[in-house]
């Protein structure tokens, strides 16, 4: 293949920077046959994309949303009103007379308005979003830059160009800023980020690691795009964290909105501030609240003697006497009687691997978990029937087996429905759940790995 064909090949695979794109255009300009072949290949490329990428559900939803909006009774009434106005010729005649009378004033007003609009458009289009990317902060000796096959040590002030790949080592960080524009990308340790293009908005590829981003307003129709092996995040101005592991991409949005598209099936979700979403195989793409904790519900005056009997209570499970958000999977010791407490929420494993669980509880307590995020699939994985001391996760042998749930394989990026129940008939009641996972000692399950289930209406 000659150089022209090689450039074309790179163009179709998105590996052509702006300089090479210009060179390709110049070469093609001199070669009419080359242009025909290039356009032919372009059309095949687009046909392949259309064939293999089914229409997104959002595209059809957007059409229907607009159709329904246009059919809204209010819009219809306005249209009827417009149609009822006098014929256009009469209106035009009125307009012409009016323009003739005030021509001088109108001309001045129009000229002033044009100047204002042009100035505002200039600010809007070319305002604070045109800075060149450069390294503003970097751990000395901890970050490198791959450029045209060469590896450079990252230093503060170095300009980042299209096709450059930035890598941070262990305990190293690097920050990219964009001149006067208030946009910052902080690369955490062990991160690899490639600047793929600047020609139509800032486009990056996050191959691994974590990027904390604070994005100033971007130019209209030129959003910043961060792609990962599993997803694409499209933003016009916001604060968020994007993290990539071997099989999952997680987006945590602090402010603003980010359009998060899963690459595998092009399903997209809008993630608002205070929410997160995960793109990973076999994981439902949802914008979920980041609020850590677990829903804790209670029922007073429960008459049942054991957990099976409380199902006879008409208030259970949908009508608790109260609820709150617990920061840990724990009911601290409390003196009470005839009280049923239920914890409900989702467990978010930080890494893929086997996890063990332990339950300690007064009187009758149960720990239930689902292999999915569905409450219907829950099974009892641990229980106590005679009660234990608070946080006594290693009770005498005959109880220990039922208090402990053997290793369960959990996948990072997914969420699992989890539920804890304790019935306190009289005296001191408590419940606590501990877990142990890959590289993590046994510890009380805390808010960092939990999100609450929605209370029943």
């Amino acid at each position: 293949m000659n150089e022209l064909e090689t450039r074309q090949a790179w163009f179709f695979d998105g590996a052509l920077d702006s300089t090479e794109a210009e060179a390709l255009a110049r070469d093609l300009e001199l070669d009419p046959q080359g242009v025909r072949e290039f356009i032919g290949s372009y059309r095949v490329d687009r046909l392949l994309a259309a064939k293999f990428q089914p229409p997104r559900a959002e595209a059809i939803d957007a059409i229907m949303a607009q159709v329904r909006r246009e059919n809204h009774p209010f819009v219809q009434s306005v249209l009827r009103g417009v149609r009822a106005l006098p014929p256009r010729t009469t209106l035009l005649q009125h307009a012409r007379e009016w323009i003739g009378r005030y021509r001088g004033i109108l001309q001045w007003t129009l000229a002033s308005a044009t100047v204002v609009v042009l100035a505002l458009s200039g600010v809007w289009l070319f305002g604070p979003t045109i800075g060149d990317p450069m390294i503003a902060e970097a751990t000395a000796g901890g970050a490198t830059l791959e450029r045209a096959g060469q590896t450079l040590l990252v230093t503060v002030g170095i300009r980042v160009r299209a096709s450059d790949s930035l890598r941070t080592g262990t305990n190293a960080v690097a920050t990219i800023t964009f001149g006067a524009e208030h946009t910052r990308l902080e690369l955490r340790e062990l991160t690899e980020l490639k600047l793929t293009s600047l020609s139509r908005g800032k486009q990056f590829e996050l191959k691994t690691g974590k990027v904390e981003a604070s994005i100033a307003r971007q130019r209209p129709f030129s959003p910043m795009i961060l792609t990962t092996p599993q997803a694409e995040a499209r933003v016009l101005g916001t604060r968020f964290i994007l993290s990539v592991t071997t099989n999952a991409t997680r987006l945590d949005v602090a402010e603003g909105n980010v359009r998060f598209t899963r690459t595998r099936d092009l399903r997209a979700v809008r993630v608002a501030g205070g929410h997160y979403a995960v793109a990973a195989p076999d994981y439902e793409l949802l914008a979920l609240p980041m609020a850590g904790g677990i829903l804790r519900e209670f029922w007073r005056g429960v008459s049942g003697k054991n957990l099976r009997a409380i199902e006879q209570d008409s208030r259970f499970p949908d009508h608790p006497d109260g609820s709150d958000l617990a920061r840990t999977f724990e009911l601290e010791p409390v003196q009470t009687n005839k009280l049923l407490v239920r914890f409900r929420g989702y467990l978010h494993p930080p890494v893929t691997g086997d996890y063990e669980f332990w339950l300690a509880g007064a009187n009758a307590a149960q720990l239930l978990m689902s292999p999915t995020e569905l409450a219907e699939d829950t099974v009892v994985i641990a229980q106590t029937s005679n009660g234990t001391q608070p946080k006594a996760w290693d009770a005498p042998r005959f109880q220990r087996l039922s208090q402990w749930a053997p290793p369960l394989p959990l996948v990072a990026g997914r969420r699992y429905y989890i539920e804890g129940l304790v019935l306190i008939r009289r005296g001191e009641g408590h419940l606590s759940v501990a877990w142990k996972g890959p590289g993590r000692p046994r510890e009380l399950l805390t808010a960092e790995f939990l999100s609450p289930a929605e209370p029943k209406k």
């Binding site: 064909e5 090949a9 695979d13 998105g14 356009i39 290949s41 372009y42 595209a59 369960l408």
Partner: protein
Amino acid sequence: MFPPPVTGRFRHPRTSIMTEPDIEQAIQRVKAGCVDDYSTVVSAYHQRLRAALAEWCPPGVGVDEIAQFAFIQAFRQLHRYRPGTNFFAWLCAIAHHHLLGETEVLRRGARNRENYLQHLITQQLHEATAGEPELNDTRIRLLDECLQVLSPEAQELIGERYRERRTVESLASTLGRTASAVSVNLFAIRRKLRECIEAKSAALSRGGLGTA
């Protein structure tokens, strides 16, 4: 061990195969005021319209945006649609007209911004689209036929690149080759597909003239 995770609990019934009479009935119901039935029409024709539009949209013009415009325009003008005529051809005509306007705007913009490559692509596609009597999805059917002729390895590579949307770097690491080699391989496959589609297209038009 946990059973396999549950996925895809809810699927939108968009993939159902509709017959022309079904679609005609849906159009009549929309005309009678059942706006929600327009989703039947949109679902039936959306992918076909995208396929018809795909190869004519230069970078910067989204197929979905043009398709959306066409469906909305068709809805606004639905009272003009005569039952029994070709609704899809009507949609294509609306989309074609709008696409010409969009590419013209983009062509001027690319020239002003001195984005030569985009200008060149847009210019070429604009001229070709303007010379096209009507849009249709024939070429996507020809593409299907041509894909069958490719070797299994080439079919797999195309599937990974376009269905799975994998980057050449990712494909290269899987195949144990350089990204450049994968890119060149893909380019050669596209060229083969182009030649196949053009040959079939020419044969089709000759056949069409012969039968006319």
